[in-house]
């Protein structure tokens, strides 16, 4: 059977891709002491590591495809077939849910041929692979391990992450080149004597952190169990901390880094709670069961336990518990008591919410979104890699990966969280003027879309958007980085303008990103950038969902509207920055196009941003992704509370939704164009009709006023509210919590010093006091001493009489 060997081969390749950056990190961090400050060696090593990683990942992807005969590309037919098969199984099990021969029969049906080592069986050919790397600890029947789990999603994520990371690393060679000096001057930091802060450059350190991050991120993707995800979850968090705080001298940077990590820890708290529940009730962290080499029943993984093999949660309505099942859908039993193993339904919800709590933190979802804009304190390549393309998307990735464990209630929560987030962030982005902050809010908003997609049952749609977003958003960040370098670290858009003439490559690659994120396309043709397809898929899911559950119509309306807002603010950004006249001539004069080392990656990324989703839902990317879709997603769920749309329903409304979304996006784009573009597109007119300028400006301004009154001001007000909410409420809560914590801890200290120590000291003082007072007895007077003899004898005698038993 070649599957085993192919699984190991894949693991090896991905393992190399995963571990190389770690080796790179080690070499770079130590090499920093050996190499001169002006050496680029660290960068080359880092690029080499991640580049080889990309090659490995890509090879693995190809190998996987070959090994599976590219079953994913054989269209949706096979997929539907498999889905149907699952449905059939589901019915079969429903009839004989408790126990009995039907399951045996079902088991027989899935005989040898289907038994892949993964325990998850989509098709005749194994497409998912898993295995164990090593054990962290074994406690009786419990084992915590480091596993790997490879399916098409893993492979795609690997390829995507390594590709983007490679581009960003290359870009960073250029971007960070001002660190290549013995005497770096940080203009944002002022020393006590009023001068700027001087320090040696930290070029190598940047790349070592980046390598460490790549290692952590890839480990997160490769992880075969939820605990391991948590491990790398924390590691990416600390890398993010290090990178945000890269300019350690800047108070704002270190504060932002702290904020990022601590806010994430709040989410991780939920994550841990989720882990505790699952661990306690399921006894395993693994996604899928372990291989059964010796023919014994495999230990099932979490996915099978909760969802069985048919994607359904086996709920006992009376006791409100969920039966845990094995990979064949059999209910698990306690080996001694033969009681069925169950988990209370409520706890399953809590566990799902808990794990999702981690996702909220990492993906900067409402209400923990506040850290991400601040995280822009880091160098721009960091923002591109960590805070847009990969780490923040990890939350979405996890929500997708862990989908089988989420109950419908959790999914609805995810959807609503995503919905709130995407709207909130988009509105804020509208008023932001810092170029990176606009992108940051945009990132939050887009992550909200992904969450929304997953929460609505559009599993593949959400992850589809993840991948496309990674490309175009990293592209845009890099482009903005290029702008920032070109403008000598000026990030305020009002001071820019017209840059496209000075830096055309940056401007137009940026434009590609903007179009992609806006989701523009020409209907009826294949000309559609990636964002169109992915956002379209989400909106379609939302529409189908709303059709099923009219009560939750907001989940459709809001993202649709926000699609327009997205297009608006993104185009606004582009127009603001690149189009029109330079608003700061002095700045403009010094602007220059970035060197090739920076624009090259832009070009590469722009290709992917534009074309990675070619073919839409029939394309390679989507097919690959949907191949990893958990069982049961395709058929949807019919339930009294919330129904989830199946593929068919989504497919039915796809066209309709596409049109709506496109309309929204186009509207947004047009509005942006009218607001900013139109104004800027007429600079020549302004100069030519210098005398008629006033009238023209008035008209223009009236135009602006109109939109201002209709859109901008309300949206500014709303955004202001949101920003204020962000600042006052959420930051307020955070600061309040911090203050409270500090206050409590002060009390705590008072208690410590006052009460506990006080008691001890009190005892000491009392004892000492008694000792001192005892000195008074020792008067030094002989006659009193003698008296004491007599008194003592008498006293003792009296006591003797008082206490002795009578005879």
């Amino acid at each position: 059977m070649p599957t085993e060997s192919i699984g190991n081969e894949l693991a090896l390749l991905l393992g190399i891709a995963w571990l190389l950056p770690l080796a790179g990190f080690a070499v770079e961090i130590f090499g920093g002491f050996l190499w001169p400050r002006v050496s680029r060696t660290a960068a080359y090593i880092a690029v080499a590591c991640i580049g080889i990683g990309f090659l490995c990942s890509f090879t693995a992807l190809m190998k996987w495809g070959n090994a599976t005969d590219w079953v994913v590309l054989k269209g949706t037919d096979s997929h539907h077939a498999s889905a149907g098969e699952h449905g059939g199984e589901g019915h079969g099990d429903e009839g004989h849910g408790d126990e009995g021969h039907a399951e045996e029969a079902a088991h027989a049906e899935h005989a040898e041929g289907e038994e892949s080592e993964s325990g998850v069986h989509h098709d005749a050919v194994a497409t998912t692979f898993s295995g164990t790397m090593y054990s962290l600890g074994t406690f009786g029947g419990l084992e915590v391990t480091l596993d790997w789990y490879i399916d098409s999603l893993t492979l795609l994520m690997f390829t995507m992450v390594t590709l983007i990371a490679t581009c960003i690393h290359v870009f960073a060679i250029g971007y960070m080149s001002d660190e290549l000096t013995e005497d770096h001057v940080d203009h944002e930091v002022h020393t006590a004597d009023g001068g700027h802060f001087h320090r040696p450059g930290r070029f190598y350190k940047f790349f070592s952190y980046m390598s460490l991050f790549c290692f952590s991120m890839l480990g997160l993707v490769l992880a075969g169990n939820i605990f391991q995800v948590f491990v790398f979850w924390e590691l990416v968090g600390i890398c993010s901390y290090l990178l945000i705080g890269f300019y350690v001298e800047r108070k704002s940077a270190s504060t932002a880094a702290n904020k990022a990590f601590i806010v994430n820890r709040v989410g991780d708290w939920g994550f841990i709670i989720g882990l505790m529940i699952l661990w306690t009730y399921c006894g395993t962290f693994r996604f899928v069961g372990e291989e059964s080499t010796d023919g014994h029943a495999a230990k099932p993984g979490l996915f099978e336990m909760v969802r069985g093999n048919d994607g359904q949660i086996d709920v006992n309505e009376e006791e409100d518990v969920v039966y845990l099942r094995d990979a064949h859908g059999h209910r698990l039993e306690d080996p001694e008591t033969h009681e069925p193993k169950t988990i209370p339904y409520a706890l399953l919800i809590v566990a799902g919410l808990g794990v999702f709590g981690g996702c909220i933190g990492k993906s900067a979802q409402f209400p923990l979104q506040t850290w991400l804009p601040d995280a822009m304190e880091g160098p721009t390549p960091v923002s591109a890699l960590v805070h847009s393309a990969t780490m923040v998307a990890a939350g979405v990735y996890l929500a997708g990966r862990f989908y089988p464990v989420f109950t419908p209630e959790v999914l609805l929560t995810i959807a609503y969280i995503g919905c709130i987030t995407l709207f909130l962030a988009a509105t804020i982005a509208v008023v932001a003027t810092d170029i990176k902050r606009v992108l940051a809010y945009s990132t939050i908003s887009q992550l909200g879309y992904m969450m929304l997609g997953i929460g609505l049952g559009g599993w593949a749609a959400g992850l589809f958007h993840l991948v496309t977003h990674a490309f175009f958003k990293s592209l845009m960040f890099l482009a903005s980085g290029s702008v920032i370098v070109g403008c000598h670290h000026e990030q305020e858009m009002p001071r820019m303008g017209g840059l496209r003439r000075k830096m055309p490559i940056t401007a137009y690659t940026m434009l590609i990103g903007v179009i992609a994120i806006a989701g523009l396309a020409i209907p009826g043709t294949v000309i559609a950038f990636s964002g169109y397809h992915s956002k379209d898929a989400i909106v379609a899911t939302a529409l189908a969902h709303t059709n099923l559950n009219p009560g939750h119509f907001l989940l459709f309306i809001v993202p649709l509207v926000t699609a327009g807002i997205t297009a608006f603010y993104m185009f606004r950004l582009w127009f603001y920055t690149f189009a029109g006249e330079p608003r700061d001539q002095e700045l403009y004069d010094h602007v220059h196009e970035s060197p090739w080392v920076m624009t090259g990656p832009l070009l590469v990324l722009s290709v992917f941003a534009a074309g990675c989703a070619i073919g839409g839902e029939q394309g390679f990317l989507y097919s690959m992704l949907s191949h990893s879709e958990p069982a049961g997603v395709a058929t949807g769920v019919e339930a009294a509370a919330v129904s989830l749309p199946g593929h068919d329903l989504i497919h039915d409304v796809h066209h309709e939704a596409g049109v709506m979304a496109l309309f929204a996006a186009v509207s947004g784009a047009i509005i942006a164009y009218l607001l900013y573009g139109a104004h800027v597109l007429n600079p020549a007119d302004i100069q030519r009709h210098f005398t008629g300028l006033y009238t023209f400006l008035v008209e223009k301004w009236r135009f602006d006023d109109l939109y201002d009154a209709m859109f901008v001001r309300p949206s500014r007000v709303v955004a202001g509210w949101c920003a204020a909410t962000d600042r006052v409420v959420f930051d307020g809560i955070l600061h309040g919590a911090c203050r409270a914590a500090i206050n409590i801890s002060k009390w705590d200290r008072l208690f410590d010093e006052g009460i506990v120590d006080g008691l001890v000291n009190l005892v000491g003082n009392v004892v000492f006091g008694i000792g001192r007072s005892l000195r008074v007895v020792q008067t030094g007077r002989l006659r009193q001493y003698i008296m004491f003899i007599a008194v003592g004898v008498l006293t003792l005698f009296v006591l003797l009489f008082a206490f002795f038993p009578k005879y």
Binding site: R775, Q778, T779, G780, R781, L782, R783, I786, M787, I789, A790
Partner: protein, 102 residues
Amino acid sequence: MEVGLNHYLFVGAVMFVTGVICMASKRNGIGVLMGVELVLNGANVNFVAFARYTALGLDGHVIAMFVIVLAAAEAAVALAIALNFYNNHLTIDVDRGDELRG
């Protein structure tokens, strides 16, 4: 009324108590020592009386003899110490010796 054991014991007890009171009340060192003698002799009266009236027998007498000797020895030492005290304090008022305390 015949004089019996209890009468002797009573005398002994009176001597003892007197002696103790004397020790505790006299400020003069010699007076205190006299109190000691009274106490010891109170006990001696007891011994002799017991020797006469109970099975203690000869032992009582012998003890009494020894005590007398001992009392003399003790008195000698005590007087020497009192003298020493007087040399240093120029008084034998025992209340004046109150430097050692606490």
